[in-house]
Structure formats: structure tokens, C-alpha cells
């Protein structure tokens, strides 16, 4: 089988993994090596695929052969599909040549479980070692830690990669039992804990010795599949928050389940992937990481799922109208961030600009405030937009209309159903 065919099979098998950022890397250019990851701080998309997703890394599987039988996965043992495996040489050669042509920022290497977790991990380690040591590759590498692999191997992997991830995939243990019978919660959490501890230790060593080796310097991430099981948004968001708090994860990715297989326990094949729900979860995740929100502020037992009609921040604002309007000349940073239509950058611009004099409504768009949403929730020097009058109902309609052009496409039909409400 030639490399073109292998690439086709092993890309196709890897495409459902959502993680494709290269953030947090900090390898500066080195003499005799190729590449740097210093610009990756802001995330560097090398292209966007036809589904609108950012492509940063060569995202492939080492092999799609797998001894496991996770029900939701195209690579599961019982699925009849063409199998292939890269040799470490082929993989290193592809990565370097793509990197030189500026097609990619680095490699995202995952794999089916070939023979055993240890065997698979060793194969990955060999590829990465070849890339780092022989080809002197100094770009970004994200590697998947295979649940069940020996800790020594995970350790070796971590010294070669910038980021490690262990995919949780199914947000609950019940889901795992039913759909991924070969995996246990323990097998997933053990490497996560190890990666966190080792990363912490490596940071401390680095503080003492400048040349101490770096263990997964860009931290770890994970992915949750949304819509394959009955878990609600509240459950998923609480899990996310726990992962950020307790495991110091850099990112949690969500992947709307695309029905690729027929199975009694899974959504039927003609069910559309829940893209809008995935979008809402990303928005909420953003609020947790940058806006100082907590999961329980956004959802509770009475409202366990996000409102498909408006984004989570607007939802929160609608439920807390007494918090508003916020006066932009007086409010602190945290309160500014609560205003729909005000982001991290515009909140900072407001703080800086108001030091030079009082702000008026007409200043705000230039500071990056999205007035279509923000107008209902703020005052500037005591004033609101001219002729702005609204009831809770018209407010909701206004917010829905303001967000509509920004939503992922397929859920539009769903939305128009709600628009009449």
C-alpha cells in the first residue's frame, strides 16, 4: 500500500477527533533544528476544511487497527473497514515535508489499539523519537496517551510531545460501560493524573534548572462526545469544570456525535450531529475559562440543558435582569465581562479608555463592543441607546436575531421553529 492510500485511510479514521489547536507551545527556534512553536500561542490555522474547522496539525492515526470494540467508533474491531498502519519513517517524513511547506504547525498523533496499549504506545514513541532526534523536528506535537499503557511509556511520550491528551469520550461511567466495554473510567483517569503530576514536577524542575527536560509543556486536553449518550449539558459542564479545577486541563473539546455505525444503543444513522448543542457547550466552556463563570451559574437541576435559542451568556443575563444595566464608566472588570456583547478585549479597552475621560455610547463600538447585544444591558454616562424600549419578550427576540447569522448552519431550521415562540 502506498503512502497516499495510507494517508487517506488514516486521516479518514482520525477526523472525528476535535482537538486541533497548537496553543501553549513555546519552543523557540534552535540552530540545526527545523521549526518553532512560539507563534502558536495565539493558535495558527493553516487552513479550514470544508466543514469550517481549523486545520493546524497533521491529524492522523498511527494505525486504525484496533483490538477494542467501542460501539461508537469506526475503527472498532467488529467494523469491516480497510486497515492500514504508518511506519515511523513514513510518518516522520510526511510531517517534516508538510511542515517545511507550511501546510501544518505539527503533528497530532493518535492511534487505534494495535495488539495492546503498550505496543501501540511504543510504536508512537518510536515515530516521535525519529522525528525529534533524527529529523530534528522542533515543531508542535500532540500525542494521544492510550488508556491502559504502562506509566513508563506515558512518561517517555510526554518528553517527546508538547501536549498529551487522554480522551474521555463518554461523559459518564454508565456510557462507558455500555458503549466502550474495554475501557474503564479508571484506565482513563490514571494517565490523566500521571500527566498532571509529571507536568507539575517538570515545571518545578525547570524553575530550578533551566535545561531540565520539559514534560508535555503545553499541558493536556481531552475530548467528550456529545449526543451519543443521554448525558445532559449540566452533567457535561460539571465534568468539564472538574477537569479544569482538579486535573488542570488546558482544554476540553466537544465533539458532536456523528452516527457512523448502526447500533441499538446509539442514535440512528440518519440523526444529524447535534452541532448547535456542541456550539453552546463551547460557548459555555469559554465562559468558564475566561469570563469567571462557574458551571452552576449557567445551568442547574431545573434547567439542565442550554437554551438553543440564545447563547449561554445571554441566557444568564436574561435570568439576572436585576444585575443590569451596568454602567461602563463605573463597573469593575468582572462586571463588564458579564455584559452580553462585551468580551475580554473590549472590557480591557473600556478600562483603558475611561481613564482618558468619560465614555459615551458612540465610543463603545470603536472599543469592540457589539451593541446589537450589549445595548440592552449597559449604560454609558447614564444613557441608553436612543428610543430603546423593550419587554422581556422583545428582548429575547432581539437577542435571537442578533446571534442568528453567527450560528453553525444546519441548526438554522431548528431555530426557525423556536423563533415563533
Amino acid at each position: 500500500m502506498d503512502v497516499l492510500e495510507k494517508l487517506t485511510i488514516l486521516t479518514d479514521a482520525a477526523k472525528y477527533d476535535a482537538a486541533c489547536t497548537s496553543s501553549g507551545g513555546s519552543r523557540t527556534a534552535k540552530k540545526g533544528y527545523i521549526g518553532n512553536t512560539s507563534t502558536s500561542l495565539a493558535g495558527c490555522c493553516h487552513t479550514f476544511s470544508a466543514d469550517g474547522r481549523c486545520v493546524t496539525l497533521l491529524k492522523v492515526l498511527m494505525t486504525n487497527r484496533c483490538v477494542y470494540d467501542c460501539k461508537y467508533c469506526v475503527n472498532r474491531r467488529s467494523n469491516e473497514t480497510k486497515r492500514a498502519a504508518f511506519t515511523p519513517e513514513e510518518l516522520a517524513d510526511l510531517t517534516i515535508n508538510f511542515y517545511r511547506r507550511n501546510y501544518i504547525e505539527g503533528l497530532f498523533l493518535s492511534s487505534g489499539v494495535f495488539r495492546s496499549p503498550d505496543y501501540t504506545t511504543e510504536l508512537m514513541i518510536r515515530s516521535l523519537r525519529l522525528l525529534r532526534e533524527t529529523y530534528r523536528f522542533n515543531g508542535y506535537i500532540h500525542a494521544k496517551a492510550i488508556p491502559g499503557a504502562a506509566p513508563e511509556l506515558v512518561e517517555q511520550l510526554g518528553f517527546l510531545a508538547d501536549r498529551l491528551s487522554v480522551n474521555i469520550e463518554l461523559p459518564s461511567e454508565a456510557g462507558l460501560k455500555a458503549l466502550a466495554p474495554d475501557k474503564t473510567k479508571q484506565a482513563i483517569l490514571t494517565p490523566m493524573r500521571q500527566i498532571q503530576a509529571r507536568n507539575q514536577q517538570s515545571r518545578e524542575e525547570l524553575a530550578k534548572y533551566r535545561h531540565a527536560p520539559k514534560f508535555a509543556p503545553a499541558g493536556q486536553s481531552t475530548q467528550l462526545i456529545v449526543g451519543a449518550t443521554a448525558d445532559n449539558d449540566l452533567h457535561i459542564l460539571r465534568l468539564t469544570q472538574g477537569l479544569y479545577d482538579r486535573y488542570r486541563l488546558k482544554r476540553v473539546f466537544y465533539s458532536a456525535y456523528v452516527p457512523v455505525v448502526e447500533h441499538a444503543l446509539l442514535p440512528a444513522r440518519d440523526v444529524k450531529p447535534p452541532l448547535l448543542r456542541e456550539h453552546r457547550l463551547y460557548q459555555a466552556d469559554w465562559l468558564l475559562r475566561f469570563y469567571g463563570f462557574r458551571a452552576q451559574e449557567l445551568l442547574d437541576e431545573a434547567h439542565p440543558d442550554f437554551d438553543p435559542r440564545v447563547d449561554p451568556k445571554c441566557s444568564w443575563a436574561l435570568a439576572h435582569l436585576d444585575f443590569f444595566p451596568v454602567e461602563v464608566n463605573a463597573a469593575d472588570y468582572e462586571s463588564l465581562l458579564r455584559i452580553p456583547g462585551v468580551g475580554v478585549t473590549s472590557a480591557r479597552s473600556i478600562l483603558a479608555a475611561r481613564r482618558t475621560g468619560p465614555l459615551h455610547l458612540e465610543n463603545l463600538p470603536k472599543l469592540g463592543v457589539v451593541m446589537k447585544r450589549a445595548q440592552y444591558f449597559l449604560t454609558a454616562s447614564g444613557k441608553t441607546a436612543d428610543g430603546l424600549r423593550f419587554t422581556p419578550d422583545s428582548l429575547l427576540r432581539g437577542l435571537i436575531a442578533a446571534e442568528r447569522p453567527l450560528l453553525p448552519q444546519p441548526p438554522m431550521e431548528q431555530l426557525s421553529l423556536f423563533a415563533a415562540v
Binding site: L4, L7, T8, T11, D12, K15, T28, A29, K30, K31, Y33, I34, C44, C45, T47, F48, S49, A50, D51, G52, R53, V55, T56, V67, T87, E89, D93, L94, N97, R100, R101, N102, Y103, E105, R115, S116, P117, D118, Y119, E122, R126, R129, L130, T134, Y135, R136, A256, V258, P273, S349, A352, A353, T356, L359, N363, L364, K366, G368, P408, Q409
Partner: protein, 285 residues
């Protein structure tokens, strides 16, 4: 004070000299234009010679008031903002008159157009860090772009670090200039015309591999061309490998030009490879 139009040679130093001379002559400028763009108007005009010493004095003065303002002026000069010179001139005037206080207010009417244009420049440069495509032309990497702003000075540091041990060039079709890098030295030079050499077999093969990867990575159930277009406007597609037609993937030069596959120039060829098949004691299925 009288109202004046100044003409200069189009260089950054030349622009700074316009600022210098406007103070020396106690004149307020209504327009600053490049010598070749000058159209006689009702206003009096003056041709400003470029004097490096004058330029340096103005620039140092700006840096002293605010290093950030100096960066804005430098970068602002690279933008495609219409009448950028006069906007930059007004920014410098306000800075020298009032001091740097107003720079905190992004909605300031003099600052805003410049800051916005610079954001646009930086945004475009950021996208291009990803969207630039290089070809291996017998060991030298070459690429082409069609940016709205003059991004090469912004991209220089990034690509020189990325390809520290390579030789490369990047041609800007819009502004007809190119960034060259070899042996640790980089320079940007005007280049009136440029034709990219056709790919050899090795190059054509990697182009095809990339195109295949690109076509395969999309999930058809999530097809969303609008989202792709928002993130990656069509004007960039012209120079991107994955959007070229068939001829781009066909080799056209002699096999002699094909470089050693798998051993890219500037990187030592792989030494002894590890034995095939990793060992994993005690973990056989």
C-alpha cells in the same frame, strides 16, 4: 500657518521627513502623497527630500513620547489604509501636542483609524502565517502571497525562525517585493516580476498528499462552506495548494532535479533507523 500638500519618495524615512519639514516650515498638511501619485491641486505643494538624519530625529522623538505610538506609526505605514500618511501625520501631531495620554482611548478619532488599520494588517499577517504555502524548489523553499497590506516585514521574524536552517523566499504579488532568507540573513527587496518554477516529482507528490489530506479531513455530515469562508476568505485561496487545479499537481521538470526523498535539504539525512517492530514484553494480545 498655511495649508500644504507634501510629496515624498514613498519611503518610511521620506514620510518622517514630511513630518519634520512641516514643523520646520510651520505648515499644516492637508495631504501627503508619493511623488508618482501627485496630481496638482489648488493647494500649494512642496517636494520633500529624504534626509536620514531628519527622519531619525522625528522617529526618536516619537519613541520618547510613546514606544507604542512609534510601533503604530511604523506598522501603520505598511497598511492599506487610504491616505495613511495623513492619518499617521495627524497622529504624530496630536502626540507631540498633547502627549501620549489619548493613546489609551481606542475610540479617539485620530487614533481609531490608524489602530484599526494596524489591527487589519496584523490580522492579515496572522492568517498568512498559516495560509502561506511553500514549494521545495531544489532545496530552496519558495512561496507567493497576495496580501492587501504590506505584511512581509511583519512575517519576516516568524518565517526566519521557523526555517532557521533553510533558504527561502516569499514573494508579495500585490506590492511586488520579496523576502529573501539564507544563512541567517533576511532582506526585503522590490521585485517587479516573478514566475514560480514548475514542481519536480518530489514536490508534486507532496502537494498531492496534502490535497488528499485536506479533502479527507472534512466531515461531510458537518459540511459548512459559509463557516469556512468566514474563517478563510476566498481571496487567500489563490495561492493555497489545496485549491489549485490539476496541473499544479503534475511534475514537469527532469528527474535530475528531484531531490532525495525523505531527506529534506538542511536536515541531516536519517542515520541508522531503529529495528522494525517495537518490543513490548508481556503485552502480547
Amino acid at each position: 500657518m498655511t495649508e500644504m500638500v507634501y510629496c515624498y519618495d514613498g519611503s518610511f524615512e521620506g514620510f518622517l521627513c514630511c513630518v519634520f519639514d512641516s514643523y520646520a516650515n510651520r505648515e499644516v498638511l492637508t495631504a501627503i502623497c508619493r511623488d508618482e501619485d501627485f496630481i496638482p491641486t489648488l493647494f500649494a505643494s512642496r517636494a520633500i527630500p529624504t534626509d536620514r538624519d531628519h527622519a531619525g530625529r522625528v522617529y526618536r522623538k516619537i519613541v520618547k513620547c510613546s514606544p507604542w505610538a512609534a510601533e503604530l506609526v511604523r506598522k501603520g505605514f505598511l497598511t492599506c489604509l487610504p491616505d495613511r500618511e495623513i492619518h499617521l501625520y495627524r497622529l504624530v501631531r496630536k502626540l507631540l501636542r498633547e502627549g501620549p495620554g489619548f493613546l489609551g482611548n481606542l475610540s479617539d478619532p485620530v487614533l481609531y483609524p490608524v489602530a484599526r488599520a494596524v489591527r487589519h494588517l496584523e490580522g492579515e499577517a496572522h492568517l498568512l502565517k498559516g495560509f502561506v504555502r511553500f514549494s521545495d524548489l531544489g532545496g530552496v523553499l519558495g512561496g507567493e502571497i497576495e496580501p492587501k497590506n504590506r505584511v512581509l516585514p511583519i512575517l519576516r521574524g516568524h518565517f526566519c525562525a521557523r526555517y532557521l536552517n533553510e533558504k527561502f523566499f516569499l514573494y508579495d504579488r500585490t506590492h511586488r517585493e520579496a523576502l529573501f532568507y539564507a544563512a541567517g540573513k533576511a532582506m526585503i527587496r522590490p521585485l517587479a516580476d516573478f514566475q514560480m518554477a514548475p514542481p519536480d516529482e518530489n514536490e508534486a507528490a507532496y502537494r498531492l498528499l496534502w490535497k488528499r489530506f485536506y479533502d479527507t479531513i472534512a466531515i461531510k455530515e458537518r459540511y459548512n462552506p459559509k463557516c469556512r469562508m468566514t474563517n478563510m476568505p476566498k481571496r487567500y485561496w489563490n495561492t493555497m495548494t489545496e485549491f489549485q487545479d490539476e496541473s499544479y499537481f503534475t511534475a514537469r521538470s527532469s528527474p535530475a532535479a528531484v531531490s532525495d526523498p525523505g531527506a529534506p535539504a538542511g536536515i541531516p539525512a536519517p542515520g541508522t533507523l531503529p529495528a522494525p517492530g517495537p518490543s513490548s514484553p508481556g503485552s502480547a494480545p
